[in-house]
């Protein structure tokens, strides 16, 4: 158990790196703007029940008298075919999107990072086997995989996340493995071995913490892509199911009404657009800041 706490402690350099990049990001106006929007989105997700005017509309309450009303002071984003407040539903959608993206990326890291460290740390046959497995997983087209999983396990948000984890973890494995291979040859690893440190400690206490920074950065860059993928899956009916107020699903149902209810597809679409845009901008910013060749200062 001790090694686990040590490990947690050793995420520090990665977090330090991330903090440094946020500091540097703050110097660019576009990126500062993105950062503010992201913080706002997170706050919206956390305080959804407080912000949403009609929390009950987010789930299943129906209101037949007010169906498909245009945006007004009462319903900021208008209402849907069951008379639910679209504003409340989009706000709850923020919560779902951020939550699923974080969980999916987190799980992918949980699977990919240790495997990459083991592959790079052990080398030889283990390395070969693990990396060939990642090649196999990388060769699945993510959408087809999601369709297959939905067909087997039924379409819902959890299974959509599962398919994302399955197609995403090999990227983290690759990054960590590349780092681990070079760190394994560093002097302090050799020194640790020279005093008889067992190999699992070498991997988890010496290699992993030193290899972690690029993965944290990669993960923060991936969140936008994951949000978009989840929305796409829901749009195709492979992810969230009604009455969940998931953005992709909202757009999907709005297709029937979009000729006479423009607001129905516009606002969820804008929500996806803005969220993915700011996450990608931040991702690009982080990459730029961390790559000395593109760093501008």
């Amino acid at each position: 158990m001790r090694w686990f706490f040590d490990f947690i402690k050793t995420l520090q350099p990665g977090i330090r790196e991330l903090r440094m990049s946020f500091y540097l990001l703050n110097r660019n106006r576009l990126q500062r703007f993105s950062l503010i929007i992201i913080i706002a989105l997170v706050l919206v997700a956390i305080f959804a029940p407080v912000i949403a005017p009609y929390p009950s509309h987010a789930i299943s309450a129906t209101n037949p008298d007010d169906k498909l009303l245009a945006p007004s002071a009462k319903y900021l984003f208008g209402t849907d075919e069951l008379g639910r407040d679209l504003f409340s539903r989009v706000i709850y959608g923020t919560r779902i999107s951020l939550q699923t993206a974080l969980i999916a990326v987190g799980l992918a890291m949980l699977v990919g990072v240790p495997l990459g460290a083991i592959a790079g740390g052990l080398g030889g046959v283990a390395d070969e086997i693990i990396m060939r497995i990642t090649d196999v997983f990388l060769s699945f087209p993510p959408l087809l995989l999601a369709i297959a999983i939905a067909a087997f396990l039924g379409p819902n948000l959890e299974n959509a996340m599962l398919s994302i984890v399955i197609s995403w973890w090999p990227w983290y494995t690759r990054i960590i493995r590349g780092q681990a291979v070079s760190i394994r040859e560093r002097q302090f690893v050799r020194a640790a071995r020279s005093i008889g440190t067992p190999v699992h400690r070498i991997i988890f206490n010496h290699i992993l913490p030193n290899a972690f920074a690029p993965v944290i950065v990669q993960a923060s860059m991936d969140i936008g892509g994951v949000i978009l993928t989840i929305a796409s899956l829901s749009f195709l009916g492979l992810g969230a199911q009604p009455p969940t107020p998931e953005w992709g699903l909202l757009i999907s149902t709005s297709r029937t009404y979009f000729l006479n209810a423009w607001w129905y597809s516009t606002f969820p679409g804008l929500a996806i657009f803005i969220t993915v845009l700011v996450f990608n901008l931040i991702g690009d910013g982080i990459r730029e800041v961390l790559d000395p060749r593109t760093r501008k200062f």
């Binding site: 050793t10 520090q12 350099p13 080398g123 030889g124 040859e185 560093r186 002097q187 302090f188 050799r190 020194a191 640790a192 071995r193 020279s194 005093i195 008889g196 440190t197 067992p198 190999v199 206490n205 010496h206 913490p209 030193n210």
Partner: protein, 322 residues
């Protein structure tokens, strides 16, 4: 009767794209219990490779032991599995001080943490007893302000402080055989002297054996009783340090000795780069040797006794007195 530590006909090579490249070829090297043996040679002579070979840490898959035996306390280390080496030898019985203090500590842990882990593992201490031991070890290596030191990260320490921490870690293992691979490289002279004295004191105190690797003849003279001179992976001269320094027979050893800085300015009498083509079948030192004769191109000279324990691998050993 085997010596405490003994190397017999050890041959190590690296596999490269151009085939196997021999790196080390040592016929014999023996160290008694409690003895300090000095190994001298220039960069690339194979000193560090020897140290890594003893510990079974040759870079894989390139490095390979082709033949030979490494006897340590009655056991042949070349026959041990990786697991046996890790569990029963590395750290617990043989430990090593690496030459580069700047990169030998893990940058993400505090110094105290790194020493604590070693003591916990090797001495089985826990909690307060362990912490006390950590402070003791830092005191042993004369690191002042130990209380504060344990909270620091490696990058916050100077080279000399780090080297002391590394020595503390190497010693915390309680190993009876210490390989010190240029422990004073990159350090300034006052710290160098301190660390040499430290290793000497500790050696007397704990009766450990030390394989002291250096590229400076002057250092070896101070700490070691016996000295071996390594050139291109071969032992070219061997004997007590007094004898080797005052009565050096091999031209290469003489070069090393004339390179020790002295009070009066002395010129190097020998070439430090090749002055003629290599002799393919002859003496490895031929290309740089100013005394070489025809016979040096024909055969490889073997180590031969010249005076007591003093052995030299040179055909001109009787004549090359300068």
């Amino acid at each position: 009767m085997r010596k405490y530590f003994e190397i017999k006909n050890l041959s190590v090579g690296f596999n490269t794209f151009e085939g196997i490249r021999p790196v080390l070829n040592i016929e014999e090297l023996a160290i008694d219990r409690g003895e300090t043996f000095g190994l001298v040679g220039e960069s690339g002579a194979g000193k560090t490779v020897l140290a890594l070979t003893i510990l079974g840490l040759l870079p894989k898959p390139a490095g390979m032991i082709h033949s030979g035996e490494i006897w340590f306390d009655g056991e042949d280390l070349t026959k041990k599995s990786e697991r046996e080496m890790a569990n029963h030898y590395r750290g617990s019985r043989i430990s090593m001080i690496f030459q580069d203090p700047m990169s030998t500590l893990n940058p993400v842990f505090t110094v105290g943490h790194q020493i604590t882990r070693v003591i916990e593992k090797q001495q089985g201490l826990k909690g307060e007893a362990c912490e006390k031991r950590v402070l003791e070890m830092l005191d042993v290596v004369r690191l002042s302000d130990a209380q504060n030191m344990i909270k620091k990260y490696p990058h916050e320490l100077s080279g000399g402080q780090r080297q002391r921490v590394i020595i503390a870690i190497a010693l915390s293992c309680g190993a009876e055989f210490l390989i010190a691979d240029e422990p004073t490289r990159n350090l300034d002279v006052t710290i160098q002297a301190g660390i040499l004295k430290l290793i000497g004191d500790l050696q007397k105190e704990f009766n450990i054996s030390v394989l002291f690797i250096a590229n400076n003849m002057g250092l070896v003279n101070v700490v070691c009783r016996n000295v071996g001179v390594l050139y291109k992976g071969k032992m070219v001269e061997k004997g007590t340090s007094v004898e080797v320094i005052h009565n050096a027979k091999h031209p290469y050893t003489q070069t090393l000795i004339s390179a020790i800085p002295r009070d009066k300015s002395e010129k190097l009498k020998f070439a430090s780069v090749a002055i003629k083509p290599e002799a393919e079948h002859g003496c490895p030192y031929y290309a740089r040797c100013v005394l070489a004769e025809d016979q040096c191109t024909q055969h490889v000279p073997m180590l031969e006794a010249v005076h007591g324990d003093h052995e030299v691998a040179c055909f001109l050993a009787d004549r090359s007195n300068l």
